[in-house]
């Protein structure tokens, strides 16, 4: 029995041309496969190229070498099967929360009268039913992330790319959001590529945790399977013995990279 591969990065290399003509290789030979229905978390030190990899999977960035396959088809242009939750604020500031969510459907030609009630349902399911009329600047950081989540999910993408979606949130809210995400994901098990800098969060949420080395030319240096039973509760799973063992094991690898990544970025800053 083989499940189809939703996202396949094969020996993907990403390089940026810097202003002064030099070329900065952010990611070297990344090899990563996400099966259909699989939840994969990417963890790595800051600046290692996590967002870059997601951009490649989204089709927003062309790799310098290697290939990107989406459901076994080579990716050309944008990845139409993917919904992307950006690291930075990406809501349309001139639309209300409701319109921001509804736009996902309206683009596809769904009549507004039909899109609005469904958008309202999605807002309710991310816990923002009462905030439909607010503009993004009237929402808190966490509320904006939830609207963005609804905006992506209403289109029912087959692949979900999430870049530190809970990044700016406090620890408690992160856990609430994590449980919300798992609940929504459990309903129809999309393929998820989830970037985070929080190892505990990665283990608690994912089926697999992938570790990237510090940049430049960062690589994928580890790939662990998380076999904690589902459905999980983020609060409780952290008390599990297996969770702790896995955490210790992964952290021993990640720790060195984090120190390296920090040292390299300070050196790079000094060199400039």
């Amino acid at each position: 029995m083989t499940t189809p591969t939703a996202v396949a990065l094969e020996d993907t290399k990403v390089a940026f041309r810097l202003g002064d003509g030099r070329v900065y290789t952010a990611v070297e030979k990344a090899h990563l496969a996400v099966a259909q229905g699989e939840f994969v978390a990417i963890v790595g030190p800051t600046g290692c190229g996590k967002s870059t990899l997601l951009n490649v999977a989204a089709g927003l960035l062309k790799p310098a070498a290697g290939s990107v396959g989406i459901f076994d088809q080579p990716l050309a242009g944008l990845n139409r099967d993917a919904g992307y939750l950006f690291q930075a604020d990406a809501l349309f500031p001139w639309k209300t929360a409701l319109d921001n969510v509804a736009i996902g459907l309206e683009i596809k030609g769904t009549p507004r009268a039909e899109a609005l009630p469904r958008a309202q349902q999605w807002l309710t399911s991310v816990g923002l039913g009462a905030f439909a009329g607010r503009y993004p600047h009237m929402l808190s950081g966490g509320q904006r992330k939830r609207v963005a989540l609804a905006q992506v999910l209403i289109r029912d993408p087959k692949i979900l790319l999430m870049d530190e979606p809970f990044g700016p949130l406090d620890a408690q809210t992160r856990q609430v959001m994590g449980n919300l995400l798992l609940e929504l994901w459990n309903a129809d098990r999309k393929a998820v590529l989830f970037v985070t800098h929080d190892l505990e969060e990665a283990i608690a949420l994912a089926d697999r945790v992938v570790i990237m080395s510090a940049g430049p030319s960062s690589r994928i240096i580890g790939d662990w399977r998380v076999s904690l039973p589902r459905p999980r509760d983020i609060f409780e799973v952290r008390l599990d013995k297996e969770f702790h063992a896995l955490h210790r094991e992964i952290w021993s690898v990640l720790k060195d990279e984090v120190m390296k990544g920090y040292a390299q970025s300070t050196h790079a800053a000094e060199a400039v």
Partner: protein
């Protein structure tokens, strides 16, 4: 400070100024009148002039003309600014080619164009509209250009990932962004539409507020000049208030400084 106190103080300033003006232009100080009526008139005369204009109704025609010219200048200038701004922002090559010429024309003091427009378009309203257009156009153009260029990269990528076509990006991303920049300069561009109209009238016309002031000046009727200036100020304040109302309607989604958050 509470609103009534503020209002009271604001009115107080006006009253003091007017009283000072009235006293200094009628009562001698040390045997000398400090504000000779020939140059400074006095509030009473100015006020009666304004009353006369309104009671006889002559002023309405002039106000109407100036208003028409301002509106036309604003509408035509904005439409042109939006179109060209969009075009330049979406076609960097065009923008690069025209850049020095745009800068050159914009650097020109528009007043020097007034005689040319009068020559080309006659002394009717269109030469004034043209002057206003040259002022409004550049403000709107620069803002729309900026607005389209400065759309957040992430918001744009988000639109793309949500499946927007180029046309939908235009409608849902570029257009609102450009409009918000344009509206943020609405006060300035409306103000300049009025300036264009009045200056044009002043330099040669047969009607309008600028004409009224110029006529009074021509016969050394200082009361008439001041009266014209006051009517003009009131006119501009009213228009500005209207703009504020429109702006509040259209930019509800914008954070304001008073929100206390970035």
């Amino acid at each position: 400070m509470s609103r009534p106190t503020l209002l009271a103080l604001q009115i107080l300033v006006a009253v003091i100024c007017i009283v000072l003006w009235q006293v200094l232009s009628t009562v001698p100080v040390f045997g000398k009148i400090l504000l000779p009526p020939f140059f400074f008139s006095n509030p009473f005369d100015v006020f009666s002039q304004i009353v006369k204009w309104f009671s006889s109704g002559v002023i309405w025609k002039h106000l109407g003309i100036t208003l028409t010219e301002s509106i036309l200048a604003f509408v035509i200038g904005s439409a042109g600014g939006v179109l060209v701004g969009f075009w330049f922002a979406r076609q960097p090559l065009v923008a690069a080619v025209f850049d020095p010429y745009v800068k050159m024309v914009n650097a020109l003091p528009r007043v020097v164009l007034a005689p040319i427009f009068a020559l080309w378009l006659g002394l009717g309203i269109w030469s004034k509209v043209a002057l206003g257009v040259t002022l409004v156009f550049f403000i709107v153009f620069f803002n729309v250009y900026q607005g389209v260029k400065e759309v957040s990269r992430t918001v744009l990528d988000n639109g793309r990932m949500l499946g927007m076509s180029e046309r939908q990006l235009m409608q849902h991303v570029y257009w609102p962004s450009a409009l918000s920049w344009m509206f943020s300069s609405l006060h300035t561009s409306v103000g300049f539409a009025v300036v264009g109209a009045v200056v044009g009238e002043y330099l040669g016309s047969a009607a309008g507020l600028g004409y009224l002031i110029q006529q009074a000046e021509g016969v050394f009727d200082v009361a008439g000049v001041f009266a014209g200036m006051f009517v003009l100020s009131a006119f501009v304040i009213l228009i500005d208030y209207g703009v504020t109302l429109v702006e509040r309607r259209l930019l509800v989604w914008r954070p304001t400084a008073s929100d206390g958050r970035g």
